[in-house]
Symmetry: C2
Subunit: 413 residues, 2 copies
Amino acid sequence: MANIALMGHGVVGSGVAEVLLKNKEAFEGKLGEEVNLKYILDLRDFDVPYKNLFTKDFQTIVQDKSVSVVVEVMGGLKPAYDFVKTCLENGKSVVTSNKELVAAKGAELLRLAREHNVNFLFEASVGGGIPIIRPMHQCLAANEIREVAGILNGTTNFILTKMIREQMAFDEALKLAQSLGYAEKDPTADIEGGDACRKICILASLAYGKHVYPEQVKTEGITKLTSEDVAYAESWGGVIKLIGRAKKLENGKLHIMVSPAFISRESQLAGVDDVFNGILVRGDATGDVVFYGKGAGKLPTASAVVADIIDEIKHKDTIKTLYWEDGSKDYVEQYENYSTPMYIRCSAQNTKTALAQANELFGTVNMLARKNQPENEVAFVTPVLTEKAIAEGIKKLELSGVSVLAQIRILDY
Amino acid sequence: MANIALMGHGVVGSGVAEVLLKNKEAFEGKLGEEVNLKYILDLRDFDVPYKNLFTKDFQTIVQDKSVSVVVEVMGGLKPAYDFVKTCLENGKSVVTSNKELVAAKGAELLRLAREHNVNFLFEASVGGGIPIIRPMHQCLAANEIREVAGILNGTTNFILTKMIREQMAFDEALKLAQSLGYAEKDPTADIEGGDACRKICILASLAYGKHVYPEQVKTEGITKLTSEDVAYAESWGGVIKLIGRAKKLENGKLHIMVSPAFISRESQLAGVDDVFNGILVRGDATGDVVFYGKGAGKLPTASAVVADIIDEIKHKDTIKTLYWEDGSKDYVEQYENYSTPMYIRCSAQNTKTALAQANELFGTVNMLARKNQPENEVAFVTPVLTEKAIAEGIKKLELSGVSVLAQIRILDY
């Protein structure tokens, strides 16, 4: 019999409890072993049929030697980090959906798990119900991963979809997302890119075997996007998406960034709309493989957590290849050294002069046009240049009286 | 040290040899065990750097007790089936990319593997380099799979893409596919749907735990599709794709079919173009999860094979949950009992009368229009009806002098 303890009975936690209790017999049939939800740790009281399982004392779980798997779905770092650490040190495997915890402490917790011959599993931390951690880990067996990129946050993707399809303004789309429960009252972590940043950190750490910390990642949100930019993206032949991406560079460093980007309408990520997530893994042998589905929600996330629990029960030894080492300060390349084409939108008294100047500063640019374009507006796409060179060009452009209103990177996924 | 034998040195086989030999050290680092390609079985001679590994005698492999994993990439049933059986009976795990073998003999070979405490793995048999067998198997742990559907054949998808995007006729697109090496000289297995049929059989067997044999599956290819149908699909708001799909019905039977179908432009499968494959798994908890990538080719397929080899070396015991039982005669529901909306294209002397009659026979139909539509052509979509009712309606329509030129199912993925 495998005894499970659940820490946290919020949205995901109650989903996990539901799935575990509902499918108890099916699991036993498959595993040849009883899966017994023994404790639920939560400070709140719940009036649920299984309320006898609740405890308010973490020590009950740690000290019960019969508990072999602990599920952490509390979220946040405190007290989740201490609790998870203590569980691993006491020889209990941990399954978590907590992206903040994995992004901040993954390397340390994976090492602890290995030292105590248990597992630290986190399929649900990225992409909700989409299987991504395990396929990527498996994929790595026979592939070198060239790049990984994805639409990793459902809230911002919902907002962008409304801006693109229904020409909503950002504020209006955000309000709609909040009223539908897709965005929190304080939406900062979503709209400023912090949530997507944690997820790309986890994917990059797994892909390249070395921890990337969120504070190392240049992160831009979607708050500055306007319907003008959406229209220019369309005339360019694509859409704007918030993309987290990571790529190993030839110098051994990592390029990693979260920002809005133009992607072509032909891209498999372009059709990932509403609250859906899509993740593209570019392997040297497989080519592009894309995983798509619901990135959040009670049951999708709970089902990913339960898949980890089952996996843990099936393979009790540490999965040695699910591992990455500590990060280092100089591991991430300065984003200013990375090259990209850039969409730039300006306002200028004389747009012809502005465009001529842009051509001089950036090399031949590609002019864009949109419906109802005001006379003083000019938009274009630069050739591939380093971010540093682009920033210098923009500075010079502004010195000559041109106002640069927007700049958005162009990606080739 | 894990000794591997490879049976077959064709496109996939040479890819597997390449990956195994090239990444030898990386594998050892990851697995803590040497991965040694010991034999390659092929009747042909090859002038390759590793030609010392070749043997023409299957017995060399069977009788070498040090060989623990045998990779079968010969294709076809003879002699692959006998060879694989013999390997399993002799306590060797088998990894295969052979969809014909898995679709015809999967249940039997999985049982044999279990009896001898070894594994029979076949990630590469569906979707080339796309991880699908393993994620689906994993997904099953915490999900009930409602439906599985996919674009499973790259050749036909390439042809359809050319018909849709460049208005090529079927024959022209097929010739192009052949000249590019995407279609064989004898393209029957691709264009008549046989290849897609084997793959949906494998996916359905895995999803529902019971073997479905190709001969139980109603299979239609793409040879009858015309540019008129492509145009009507567009005016309806979608594209034509060759879709294999399976769904467990409430009566416990299985609905499974391969046929061209209209799918909405909004569908995540609609953007799967050219030689790419896309597979949608609809779980009760996860919702729709889509896997997308290159469905064939030397390195993608080889990388899936190698991922299985690695998996086998890591988990030497039988993976008990990767299993399905024998099929039975009455397991698959007669397709005539299944309900669907249907697109129907006819030629009639009086199209108004024909349409009025269609309304009477099928209930209110949805008329479609296209550019350059000849006066005597009429096309419409029926309400949801059983295939039997639709067939009867069509018969009556034809009795009254209307010629039915095409009928294509409409799916809601």
